[in-house]
Symmetry: D2
Subunit: 384 residues, 4 copies
């Protein structure tokens, strides 16, 4: 029995039309699931806590959507007694891995059908034209709008663009590519100033300082940050990244709300977290990013890392003020009841409970090792 599952994860899509199409094509049951809230709370929020960034640049908008979607698909499959699940991801990409590892983890006995890895299928349909002909012949409705010369994946967190004309890494992206963010050249010439309040490392309220407007549920907060970020052209990147399957690919992403949150969270985190905890947490965050990029959201190691990162966020609480303008996010100031910042201690005008003489001993002891190294292995001479 053919069942069709579709997730509303924030993309701009006509779900009614999708339902009709699925039924027309023979689906006995069609599930269209609104996952937006759980996507924000269970997937975006932990990524915010982690400052999750893959290879120093990519904010993982597609990567974290996959386990969210696949989890629901598996839940339905188990409930419905389905032994097979299927997806339409290609055979060269990361998404096949992300979908399937989630399925195998949450439903170890499941069988997976991936048409784009079945020779009969991919040899039959070598390009878009083949697919179009087939659709026409079999009365499958297809979008009439001409397809853009690249492919695109959208959700609440971001839109990604790749393939087609973008495959040549030297080609500049066309300026009309972006759909979620305004071109910074055309964006407002006045900044919006926001205050974001955090508790346990996740945003609990965003306020527009001038307008006084505020949002305080996860979905609303995130949508509002997307709105403001999008309005000012925030979060566009053009990168070459390393896929899990071993090839490099070029991707263009826009992540307006996520980019604002990354800046704000980094700020409040450093303000409230001990330096050495932060270092350990930073390396866990890098590990986390790699795991979710590679599709291991539902793995024992990712669950372990998530737990540890969550623990690190206990005191990450406070408010950050920031300005959003012309593609950029500027941190303006921060305050917190849990801050480890001690204005008196650090002040250049107040000595406070700090004896500068201690620093001499501190430096001398730190130098013991360096002096020995240079004396005994004669290294000092070489450098001068």
């Amino acid at each position: 029995m053919h069942r069709d599952t579709m997730a509303n994860i924030g993309q701009d899509e006509d779900f009614d039309a999708a339902r009709k199409k699925a039924e027309k094509l023979g689906a006995k049951k069609v599930f269209i699931e609104d996952l937006r809230s759980e996507f924000v709370q269970e997937f975006i929020w932990p990524s915010v806590q982690a400052n999750a960034v893959y290879e120093d640049r990519y904010l993982l908008g597609t990567s974290i959507a996959r386990p969210c979607i696949a989890r629901r698909q598996v839940q339905i499959a188990r409930r419905e007694g389905a032994q097979y699940v299927s997806h339409g991801a290609t055979g060269k990409g990361n998404d096949q891995v992300r979908f399937e590892l989630t399925c195998y983890a949450l439903y170890p006995e499941v069988q997976i059908i991936a048409p784009w890895r079945i020779p009969e299928f991919y040899s039959r349909f070598r390009g878009r034209t083949d697919l179009m002909e087939y659709a026409e012949k079999h009365g499958i409705p297809v979008p009439v709008t001409p397809k853009a010369p690249w492919s695109m994946d959208a959700n609440l967190m971001h839109i990604s663009y790749e393939s087609g004309v973008l495959e040549n890494p030297k080609n500049h992206a066309p300026s009309d590519l972006y759909q979620m963010t305004r071109n910074p050249e055309d964006s407002p010439s006045e900044a919006d100033v926001l205050e974001i309040a955090f508790a346990k490392g996740v945003p609990v309220r965003v306020t527009h300082v001038k307008e006084g407007k505020s949002k305080d549920t996860p979905l609303e907060i995130f949508c509002y940050l997307n709105e403001i970020g999008g309005k000012h052209g925030v979060g566009r990147i053009d990168i070459v990244e390393n896929r899990f399957i071993g090839m490099k690919s070029r991707g263009i992403y826009e992540t307006p709300g996520g980019t604002i949150l990354l800046h704000a969270h980094l700020d409040i985190e450093t303000f409230t977290m001990d330096r050495e905890v932060r270092k350990i947490k930073q390396s866990l965050g890098i590990k986390f990013s790699e795991l979710i990029y590679n599709g291991f959201w539902y793995s024992p190691e990712c669950e372990f890392v998530r737990h540890c990162i969550d623990k690190s966020q206990e005191n990450v609480e406070g408010r950050v003020q920031l300005s959003v303008f012309k593609g950029q996010v500027y941190i303006l100031g921060r305050e917190s009841p849990k801050s480890l910042y001690n204005e008196e201690l650090v002040s250049m005008d107040v000595q406070g409970d700090y004896d500068p003489c201690d620093a001499s001993g501190f430096i001398k002891i730190n130098a013991v090792r360096l002096r020995e190294h240079n004396r005994l292995q004669g290294a000092a001479q070489k450098k001068l």
Copy 2:
């Protein structure tokens, strides 16, 4: 015998006046050293190779200047037979550590005089007024311009601002603070597009695409990037950071050229470097950043890490095109003779030498562990 050493490391300063002042105050010899070229080549370039960023945000402009300055000071001290060196860094900051660790490493027998850690000195001069009175009384020339209500440190790479009104981390920085970058609100409404050519991970030429102008010596390249970055307001950050001596402090930085280079180098590096080498190199870069922030440029571990990072850059070669606009750097495209990007391999339209069926096996084997975990420790059930 009192000798005075002063480094021209790119700051805006009247060196003649400084020389006269030193002589007037009794210096028998005055050394004013132009370190700009070696600062770029020996200190900034390795930081570019490392993508050196402290605590995810700070580009280390002050940190890397200190060992450059102190090295020259030590060279002069050794040559002149001086047994003591001195500096004016405060007792609560990082710079005292950076200066002194360099001195101890390169001149293990040296004695260091740090007035701001000598009780007789810092008890005598409790604030600016005490110092002014003393200067006046003893005929020491001081700047007549009223001091800004914060302190500032400038070099070729950046200007940092801290203390005074900035000590309250909630206070917004005044908009007239910045001296190296134009306010993005007032910056040009047209982007400049640059092409930066890299070899072995360092820039070897920058070209203004429209104007055709190009620079190809390290110092000129860096100054030109500062000029363009400054013109467009690139590289401003406002952060709270963790000092080596254990306190948090608030700093504001502007690093125009360095910020452009960070973006460009990240791009060409990911384009030409193997994924797994990159991961290892990334963690070495984080270590490197921490070491130089803490003052350990001349330590065995930092030398080891620099060597390893340098090795990783062998194939980091090619050209990056980028646009600089309104405080932001946008990567537009890249090309390289050493790229590991294979357009045919990654293409969604060409199968190339890649069998999609292999991905099934790859995923299945990666799932072995996840399925076992969920089966044997019954973890799958808990998540659905």
Copy 3:
């Protein structure tokens, strides 16, 4: 008011004599605290969970005793309203750091008196003879037995030996040095076989397989393992290590019970823990070891790491059989209700739910990156 605190942490000492001596010397109150149980449960057990080993060899017996002792001292000081605490550790060692960081962390306002860092004290007493003369003159009782030509520190977990004749790193340790373990040359020529049961990564019972004898409280388990390990000469090492203050020192240690537990725990952990969790946990364990060596038991980062390691131990449960013989511990077998070992899956005789063809795809995909690297950067040729 002078109060004297002394910890019974398992060392062989005449506590009554110590009390009398303290009272005779003017202590108004003398606290002799039996910390053995809390030392095992709160300090040794977490180290077992972490497989804590410093610099690949040292099991940290002294390092973990210091925060245990200092914590109690601080508890008493706070309760008694004492504003000063003191200790007798030297100025070149690690122990001063470990004691004092614990004190400062748990009693931030405390003042610490460390005589061996007070010039009047250490200039007055330059060696043992000075101390002896002073003691005799002032009627302070001292041990009459001639002191061994090295120094020693003992607790339940280990005895360490250093200084004196051991300071020359080339000198072999005298064979009569060891007090906790029998010389393997003289140890029994028959092994003892033990079974150790673990739950949540800590031992909950040890059984002598042949004799049927078993222990099941933390203190008894650890003492029994010391007894068996000591009988067979287990856990002797002679190392040069790196002190926190930057110098290398030579130490000789014997850690009989701890060594047995390290072997047993490594075994049951790998048996029950996911491979990738283990990798992350391994690096946390190394960090943990470094932190406790350096005296940071009571630091935010060490608490964070302990929490994470503890989390990793949830399923570390089962029984390990091992043989103890002539200085060595041999693992013989293991079993666990939480094991991730699947005998059928791994069997060379049974195919099970595993398709060997999947391995081809797995290998091919893993090779994608290697082949590209060698093709595009021409690296393959160089190696042949």
Copy 4:
């Protein structure tokens, strides 16, 4: 054309018989290659430099043999113009990966035939009996000795045992299993004392202290250490390990010479290497171990890591004395012209160029962060 390649990598084998058998079975060319010297120098020595140990226990004897063998096979295949290579590793193990990744890296165009992953093959031969019948029927000579109820892999570095009766992880290994080491119960009751001299982190001479005998070529040194280690039963372990393909397996290993070298190298390395370099190098060594276990010897990342580790060994030079006795290696002493150990600096009897007062400052500054944490986040109270 069928060519047969066989490597002499130190295993105990009748190579003449093997050649005849291959020719009888139709090989047009038979290559029997003595790889022992290059195995020691190019594979074992880098592992010694790295202190390479997988999952804290396994010394990787099989892992490092595979790339050595496969490299030669590929060299021959390229030279002979062969487009296919084949091997007999099973479909569940690590060795298939190690062989094939080496082949793909060094000969990216090669095709690999792995019969144990071809359904026609492994369905036809389900067990030993099927194979025996087939051999008899087709006149293929097979060993007449009854096969041990486990499988075994031997080379110069170690012998591994797995499968059969060993598959139950609870079963103790039979005492007659080991072939390379004597049972410690039957080993000599007198120790052998060796001195091993290192340069650049690899052994350059081993001397039997009492007998005066010494060896100084890599192959002779390693064989002699195997002889002494084997005589005293050194290097036996029984572990459960995590295979790259995601399953846990139980293996028993004996690595006599490698175990002695691990102890000796750890000792001389810590004696001559800076503490912080060592920490970085330790994590590179763990990465290296994982890479070679997983088959990535010829990968860009492993080459990078090897380069870095090699760099770290520049000053790892000196002599270690050790005693080998009853399954154990005891370090006795060490000396080095490059040591960073400073006997005067560390001495408890000499103050040297060290001011104990500096330690007070060092500790106070290290405590700044801990005190702030406990004051501001009120953490101190909770712990007392």
